[in-house]
Amino acid sequence: MNLPNQEETVTADTFLRGLWEENPVFVMLLGMCPVLAVTNSAINALAMGLATTFVLLCSSSLVSLFRKLIPKQVRIATYIVIIATFVTIVDYGIQAISLDLYNALGAFIQLIVVNCMILGRAEAYASKQRLGATVVNGLGMGVGFTIALLCLGGVREILGAGSLFGFPLFAENFQPWVVMILPPGGFFVLGGWLLLFNWYRQRRERKLMEQQGASVHGS
């Protein structure tokens, strides 16, 4: 991953990068703790994704605005305090909106503060870029993170409880695969997704090689 040191112009790529090429969960393996812990149902995963996106957006915009004011020596501490402030806001917000959700997510809302993805974005991107680029990039990363959470949460809920977003999908005789909503399931499903992506990437590389080989032979 090469990070631009100059201020980059906003393109569609700024947004799309977070979705696929630099997806925080599937490619960079950042912020794994909430990814595994709260994805036992799709609704929890969605809520966690949205909360993280909100914190990511707000904190990186603020960091980007103040990037010339923050002294280099204390930047990490400053970033963390900024992030912690927004997490506190989200924490009280969710508590006010839905107490059920708050209880389901538990301490993991407050633990957004130590999500490496957010600090990583602040340090590697927001501290060097203009506000516009930061917002677009942050949004991309947040959406990528949410999609990844939904991928995990969806699979785990379908297999482990036979439902999606709380709606039952199968007939009565369905035997839920309970281990999938228990802790080991999180590891297994994420591992499975990574296997799938590895397989896809290798297949694409092999095809590319074959094409190149063919063109060399042809000439």
């Binding site: 402030t85 301490a107 130590v114 990574l194």
Partner: protein, 196 residues
């Protein structure tokens, strides 16, 4: 909930609700530093130390915050304390063991963003543990973390020589292993633990 015995709290945090394998806290270093047994063990020790320091400080801070009725500042204060504790460990390690300092590399400052440590501070506040219980809890959590990390490192050292399919190399394999370990640790649930 505050009436549990110290042994139970320790065992609960270390084995039954293991921080890494059951509660998914501290996954980043768990996946990142578990390639070699030696490094994993030292990382575990550093984490135990930071956990103890930050747990004691968090206890004191929580008392102060409640006293002045400003609990909404809890998160910010906790994270500041943890960051300072990590800095302390970093300086000590740089002075006494430069080789280890280099081996741990970026993961040493990243202890700050190790959810396990903030998790200890937050859980002990939620469960309203008293001072001794806090100590037992953080020690147990640290021991549990070290246990998981060393087990994982041992497995991965073995697997380095194994012949695995090309696709499953790297993170995917590590996650599958973690899943199996987690499954094994679920067997301890019968000891009377409850998921937090």
């Amino acid at each position: 909930m505050a009436a549990e015995s110290l042994t139970f709290i320790f065992l609960n945090a270390a084995i039954i609700n293991n921080f890494v394998l059951a509660l998914f806290l501290g996954i980043c270093p768990f996946l990142g530093v578990s390639a070699k047994r030696d490094t994993a063990w030292h990382m575990g020790l550093a984490v135990i130390f930071v956990m103890l320091v930050s747990s004691v400080s968090a206890y004191a801070i929580n008392w102060l915050l409640i006293r002045f009725d400003i609990q909404f500042l809890r998160l910010i204060c906790y994270i500041a304390v943890i960051a300072s504790a990590v800095q302390l460990v970093e300086m000590a390690m740089k002075k006494f063991s430069p080789a280890l300092f280099r081996a741990l590399g970026i993961f040493l400052p990243l202890i700050t963003t190790n959810c396990a440590i903030l998790g200890v501070a937050l859980f002990q506040t939620f469960r309203e543990y008293d001072f001794l219980q806090c100590l037992a809890f953080s020690l147990g959590a640290g021991v549990g973390f070290t246990l998981a990390l060393t087990l994982m490192a041992g497995l991965r050292e073995r697997l380095e020589l194994a012949n695995v399919p090309n696709v499953s190399q790297g993170a995917a394999l590590t996650l599958m292993l973690a899943g199996l370990l987690s499954l094994a640790f679920m067997g301890f649930a019968g000891l009377g633990g409850q998921h937090a």
